[in-house]
């Protein structure tokens, strides 16, 4: 796990439950495993974002999944998640913008994982500080199961667009934050 230098003040394993101060916190969570072909997308975007994102935004890269993400989502006011997705309905490289609020929490989860959305909802139900707003930028992948495989060119080509979108979303949140602070 690799935490960004910007505002990435937490040591790994430290629970992010106690949020200091009243300022809104923006966090970008880049999910994926750079050893697994297209799954390297999230970490690759994280690398780009660290170069170009304002310093008060946390950038966290992790290959943790499901419930193991709980610690990573707590304490942020706004959360942007970058990940790959396999819907089989879109061509590889297609970028989807999902809002946690729009995604129905569905039962019968994968045999092994509690999904991100369920983790968010779980945190909310047990009164933990989950983000007020969560947006997911997901790129349709072609292959996330070949070890040492390289990223599909169509998936790789989506990196600049996702970086741009991430900047725009963060920019919007920051403007909102400023307004809230002055209100």
């Amino acid at each position: 796990m690799d935490r960004g230098g910007h505002g990435g003040v937490h040591q790994e394993g430290e629970a992010l439950v106690e949020v200091g101060g009243s300022d809104a916190r923006i966090r970008i969570l880049c999910l994926g495993n750079d050893l697994l072909a297209d799954d390297a997308f999230g970490p690759a975007v994280g690398k780009e974002l660290r170069r170009s994102i304002p310093e008060d935004v946390e950038v966290i890269t992790t290959q943790a999944a499901g419930f193991n993400l709980l610690e990573e989502i707590l304490g942020a006011t706004y959360l942007l998640v970058i990940d790959t997705i396999l819907t089989g309905r879109n061509p590889p490289g297609k970028v989807l913008i999902l809002r946690a609020e729009d995604v129905q929490v569905v039962p019968g989860n994968s045999p092994h994982s509690v999904g991100l959305f369920e983790t968010l909802e779980l945190g909310r139900r047990v009164c933990l500080p989950v983000p007020e707003e969560t947006v997911i930028l997901a790129v349709e992948a072609a292959d996330c199961t070949t070890l040492g495989g390289s990223m599909d060119p169509r998936v790789r080509a989506a990196i600049p667009a996702v970086v741009r979108l991430a900047r725009e979303i963060v920019h919007g949140w920051r403007k909102g934050t400023v307004r809230t602070a002055h209100a």
């Binding site: 790994e12 394993g13 019968g108 994968s110």
Partner: protein
């Protein structure tokens, strides 16, 4: 994954290549009944090739990064394989630190599975409406306070994992011949406190299991039902007295009637375990080599065996700690003696093991030798070949490396828990299909039955390492005896159901 490096090209019908979907192929006989069902899930590929040419010393880090589900188990199996590779025996304190670290991980992982992954089937209930059969339903049933308790316990356990292993998720603890870091008296005190709390937590979990599951006749009947029952061999790691051990010992196999069939050290695994390839799956199905592959069938004449909590309890003669031993005794007294063949009893066995892991954690935390600074024996021998095994939460995990004299991997082989269970999981799916499908109709209920069957094993599938799909995508196809498709049912990641008849 085969040590001989055999490659076999497997052709899969392009129509069924829905990436990321688990697939079930069902073949009907002439009278429209299920003759065979095949179950297949996306698997990681290219492992051996990826490891070849890399320094063996990187393996505890690399293999733990491959899997987002149980990295700690890979880290430990890999570290033990390096001990064997460099022919070095770690000092006693290093073994204790490793086992303590591993026990802490087992407490965390088993608790997570019981409450949040298996819980939807058992705590909420198998017949609850689909929209409640999820982790949120578990919280609704057991209460917000219990949810908070589980999350708080987990946080403390992760703090221990970070204090001892460097990182909670991908540890940097194990080195050939020992560990990277000693335990200070301050950290020891912290572990003692958390271990005591973990025992209380495990006892409380066992009470919940009693109250919610065992008091409910429907659940007990489901555990005992034929559809989730298979009479196979069982494998697990045991100590010198044949008691369950997660970190080290002998791999013991018992027959379907509960008698010891084999007891061996990890490096002998190739004499006992072989892998069978099916044309329809990437997964290699493990079986007992001396018996041979006889197909997906039960019984003493079939080489099919399984691992995971139920198998570990069956393969042992007891637990090494008092509270867990009492829970073990009750488990078999209630379920009609050893061995227990009911797949869903895995959930109960997992709670027995949770108690053991917590008690073992405290035993090791109280060990006066734990703070000994001599935590490593430096390896001096020339590396050649090494095998390491541990019990992952999901069952026996074996790492096997062959290197050149510089320690560069020439060949690697991994037997992961889910491979050990693959044949039995396929059998469970086929049994569910036979009970639910006649003719061309695929009832949606099969999705639940199939998922309950494999969730009990807590399998580690590539598709499961992804966080985004809310549902495990599943694709079911029914074919007539000529192989023509007569019906399909597909559930996508968003839970939507699509049919074709």
């Amino acid at each position: 994954m085969s040590m001989e490096g055999k490659t076999r090209r497997i052709t899969i019908d392009p129509i069924s290549r829905l990436e990321g979907h688990g697939k079930i192929e069902i073949f009907l006989d002439e009278s429209g009944n299920v003759e065979r069902a095949y179950f297949q899930v996306p698997e990681l590929r290219g492992f051996e090739k990826f490891m070849e040419g890399r320094p063996a010393e990187e393996m505890p880090q690399i293999t733990s990064r491959i899997c987002g589900v149980c990295p700690t188990a890979h880290h430990m199996a890999s570290t033990k394989a390096l001990d064997a590779l460099y022919q070095v025996d770690p000092p006693p304190v290093a073994k204790k630190i490793r086992e303590l670290f591993y026990s802490t991980f087992m407490v965390e992982d088993h608790a997570l599975h019981f409450y949040f992954l298996g819980g939807p089937d058992f705590v909420v209930g198998p017949s609850a409406p689909p929209q409640e059969r999820n982790v949120l339903g578990v919280i609704a049933k057991v209460g917000v306070e219990v949810g908070q308790k589980v999350i708080a316990m987990r946080r403390k356990l992760r703090e221990i994992l970070a204090a001892v292993g460097g990182k909670p998720v991908h540890p940097v603890l194990g080195l050939p011949g020992g560990v990277a870091k000693r335990i200070t008296p301050e950290v020891q005190k912290q572990i003692q406190a958390v271990a005591a709390e973990a025992i209380g937590f495990a006892q409380f979990t066992l009470e919940i299991f009693h109250d919610v599951v065992l008091q409910n006749t429907d659940y007990v009947n489901l555990i005992l039902s034929d559809v989730f029952t298979h009479r196979t061999y069982y494998m697990g790691l045991v100590d010198q007295d044949n008691r369950v051990n997660f970190y080290d010992g002998w791999i013991r196999v018992v027959s379907p009637d509960g008698k010891e069939w084999a007891r061996f050290k990890a490096h002998q695994y190739l004499e006992v375990v072989a892998e069978h390839v099916e044309p329809w799956s990437y997964v290699k199905f493990c079986y007992l080599k001396p018996i041979g592959w006889k197909g997906f069938i039960d019984g003493a004449d079939s080489g099919v065996y399984c691992v995971a909590p139920l198998a570990r309890l069956n393969a042992s003669e007891g637990m090494a700690t008092p509270l867990a031993q009492e829970a073990y005794r009750e488990f078999y007294a209630t379920l009609g003696g050893k061995p227990v063949h009911h797949t869903l009893a895995n959930h109960w066995a997992r709670v027995v093991e949770l108690l053991y892991a917590a008690e073992r954690m405290r035993e090791l935390a109280d060990d006066p030798e734990l703070t000994d600074p001599h935590v490593r024996t430096l390896p001096t021998a020339t590396p050649r070949e090494g095998v390491g095994a541990v019990e992952a939460p999901r069952g026996t995990l074996i790492h096997h490396y062959q290197t050149d004299e510089r320690g560069i991997i020439q060949k690697a082989n991994l037997i992961v828990a889910t491979q050990n269970n693959a044949a039995r999981i396929a059998m469970s799916v086929e049994k569910a299909a036979k009970g639910l499908i006649t003719g061309h109709h695929i009832p949606e209920g099969i999705l639940n039955m199939v998922e309950m069957a494999f969730r009990a094993y807590d399998p580690c599938h590539a598709c499961a390492t992804h966080s985004l799909p809310g549902n495990m995508p599943l694709f079911i196809r029914v074919r007539d005896p000529k192989g023509n498709t007569v019906a399909t049912l597909r559930r996508d990641f968003d839970g939507s159901i699509h049919r074709d008849a």
